[in-house]
Symmetry: C2
Subunit: 504 residues, 2 copies
């Protein structure tokens, strides 16, 4: 694609000025409309070194209301970021509804410049393999965001080898700017064709209908500025049109067709009579906790992140299980993240945003007390999202967990299961105990009335999102002793299995 | 203080267990009450290496509802953090109302372990000087938070040289834990007395009435656990009592006594007739923008952070001045932060929290379109905070700006001044222009009615918060040309002055 570009494209300063002024007024208007309609926008700038990304971004933002945008510069990733999946740093920065985020370099950096650096340092084969996985993760990232209503605009600024060389030399000639040109920059210029091929592959692999690339001939700054500004205007206008059409045709369109009744009943097969005596419990608990304490050290040393999600009926014993899991762990290495209803800011983001934020660094454990599965349970049942949205969520969640495991994480999800009678018994017990009364609210009783609806949702969830890389473990929970030990044992075994894998 | 401690303190496991269970129930209750009353709590763990901070924190959090607390571990600071004032990483992590944050190591790290490391590496003198500044910043940090209603509980866990050596040896004896003991740990053990002296000084300098230290004899884990748990319970109970007393005596107590009428009138002395012709404007603007572009590079290379605040009457031309300031800058090196009314999350934090979050890294420019001075203007006038709160704010703001300049930042604050007639003219002009109508809201007209009240507040603000290290610059704004050039020139000159200082 790149080599076929006509780099002789030019525009007279006077004409460019006129067009930019027009576009600028238009862009301001479009920005305000997008804010009113709650459309989030992400604009990505990639391209060759010295192609003028900085100048172009600055021109673009002069036309924007500063209350509505934010520019992020992707420098080399910091330690916090390197210890997490590579998209984590971008997930945490996505715009909320109605806002614009501009990325000067982006998630493409790792499949472009970083790849080049790796290939140059003779890690060629490993680099190639990693790329395929990264492309998959990137496409899924952009798909999830655009499915959620975001506009993603991607620019690639191109100049050729000769022009780049000229610009580097000019930068180096001045005392103030010489430091901007690095050894790596010169290497990329010298090995321009190789670098070009990497960029071509990247563009091919990630040029999608929902997030297409716009290639920008960047030798002439005026031409580039007009092309960029016009493209942003067009894309925003189109998004607004679409939004309007959607609103006019009513919310109906957004609703997916009803599906066939869901038949498979995972929960029915659970044997709730499993139990453990107090002595067995004490003994096994003690043994497993001590083992876990040691394994926690190993996780840390081998830099393996561990993600554990807890779901289950109210009063199924999530809190107790979590306490037994953590009571011997070093608090510096784990975090319990309780999930409540989303707050204002969280509601204005993609529903997975707040969970990404709490994902553990490599070597750490993150325990979620209720999880992202709320989307296909409470949000589905209470109508907090559309049918189309929760139906789409199964795939989205699987993709997120794939991304996490691609980055080396162990992902375990526990469904703590009890039957309806046991729940009633526990509710009443809590009501009778002054120290526990606060744990029971009217909402718990209301949820209980929807037990059958939840059962359908849970069954579908367990089936659709239990994967080889992130399995659901259904825990027989009528006996608390049995449940706690099963959770601990599962975690211990999962870590041991991974450590063995790494050794082998 | 430390050497006088009775390290023979012990407690039988059975007794400890009983006391801990009691305290545990009590703590859970207190945590819920603090949540209901919106009291934020910060608990700090410091102490000698291998004194058992991890174990003690874990015991403490087992008694807490995980939905209400968060543990932060202060590892060595990352790059994002090192490029900002040293308290920045903690300001951004303070608990919101009703929540508990626990720090495993904290802001004391830099005046304790880091200082020791420095002294050992023969940077002794520089270290000593920096300490005094850091102690000042720490006291002011804790004072601001406790003044705002936060409970700050600080533990120092002490073991002696012999016991520490024993524990290091035990850790090293096991394959799983050997990596935990570092060369630095052994050096601190070897030079125990020196390290002790540093800790003594730290405790003395920061043991205040509002945030006292609790020294914990940590040789016996049970003793330490009981002491810690009881202390937390006591402090929370006391805070709740105080809160209740305050509520009962009505809000009256919180209101400060009225002060003498404020007389000095800074604004009256401003000469609004200053102006500039279009030709002079164009010429000077162009020259200054080019100069600033170059200086921006110098700032970056010398790692100087630049903080520019804009305040002024509605329609005084803040937006226009900011645009002229930024139009030639590289967007990778600056950020415009518009300040709107605080959102939900921001309201639940100290009012300075959200501004800390946006403070620039070393070498970067942060421009604030409206600032933390909202506290002593709109919040004062609209009654969004109590009289006592806005009166306290002058000192708090001065302290914050001191902390920023201590960390090497240039801080400039512009008040864009126009008279009431000029404002009316501009409002009407905007209303008449379809492209600008959205800029004028009913609120602007309402604010205008309070012009005289604002005048009093602005005069007081300019007087009380113009400091040698962070001056206010009043900009004569009736002529936009004049104002924009003055802003640019002031910024350019401030940077030049700093660069000269660094050279000299």
């Amino acid at each position: 694609m790149l080599e076929k570009m006509d780099l002789k494209k030019k525009m007279e300063p006077e004409e460019a000025k006129k067009l930019l002024e027009e576009a600028s007024g238009k862009l301001g208007r479009l920005q305000r409309e997008c804010r009113n309609k709650g459309i989030p926008v992400m604009i990505v700038f990639e391209g060759m070194g010295a192609a003028g990304k900085g100048v172009q971004i600055n021109r673009l933002i002069q036309a924007l209301d500063p209350r509505g945008f934010h520019v992020y510069t992707s420098e080399r990733s910091n330690r916090e970021e390197r210890l997490r999946p590579f998209l984590w740093r971008y997930w945490t920065k996505i715009p909320e509804k109605g806002r614009i985020v501009i990325f000067d370099r982006s998630w493409y950096r790792s499949v472009q410049a970083d790849r080049f650096d790796q290939e140059m340092s003779e890690k060629k084969e490993a680099a190639g393999k990693k790329m395929e996985v990264d492309y998959y993760d990137i496409r899924s990232f952009e798909k999830q965001l655009t499915d959620d209503g975001m506009v993603v605009i991607k620019f690639f600024l191109y100049i050729d080898k000769k022009e780049q060389k000229k610009r580097f030399e000019k930068l180096e000639a001045s005392k103030e700017t010489a430091w901007r040109v690095t050894k790596e920059d010169w290497l990329r210029n010298k090995e321009f064709d190789h670098y070009l091929r990497i960029n071509e592959q990247m563009l091919e692999a990630t040029d999608t209908k929902y997030a297409p690339w716009t290639l920008v001939e960047a030798e002439d700054k005026n031409w580039a500025a007009v092309k960029i500004m016009s493209t942003v205007c067009e894309r925003l206008a189109y998004a607004l049109e679409q939004k309007e059409r959607q609103e006019q045709s009513g919310e109906k369109e957004a609703e997916a067709a009803p599906r066939e009744a869901f038949l498979s009943d995972v929960l029915a097969g659970v044997d709730l009579s499993k139990t453990l005596s107090r002595e067995e419990y004490k003994e096994q608990l003690d043994k497993l906790q001590k083992k876990l304490e040691k394994l926690h050290n190993e996780l840390y040393r081998k830099r393996i992140p561990l993600i554990i999600g807890f779901e289950g009926w109210d009063a199924a014993g999530k809190g107790g299980a979590i306490r037994r899991l953590t009571s011997h762990l070093d608090p510096r290495g784990y975090q319990v993240n309780p999930t409540a209803s989303p707050n204002d800011i969280e509601k204005r983001h993609h529903y997975l945003w707040r969970f990404y934020r709490d994902m553990p660094k490599a070597g750490h454990i993150a325990i979620f007390d209720r999880t992202w599965y709320g989307r296909v349970m409470v949000e589905r049942i209470e109508g907090f999202c559309t049918t189309e949205e929760w139906q789409r969520a199964y795939g989205e969640i699987n993709e997120m967990e794939k991304h996490l495991t691609n980055a080396g994480a162990i992902v375990l999800k526990f469904w703590l299961h009890i039957d309806k009678d046991e729940q009633e018994r526990r509710f009443k017990e809590r009501m009778a105990d002054p120290a526990k009364q606060w744990k029971i609210t009217d909402e718990d009783w209301r949820n209980r009335e929807k037990w059958e609806e939840y059962e359908v949702a849970v069954n579908e969830m367990l089936l659709r999102t239990s994967t080889t890389y992130a399995p659901w473990i259904v825990v027989e929970g009528n006996s608390k002793y049995y449940a706690r030990v099963k959770v601990l044992r599962t975690v211990v075994e999962a870590i041991e299995a991974r450590l063995k894998e790494l050794e082998g």
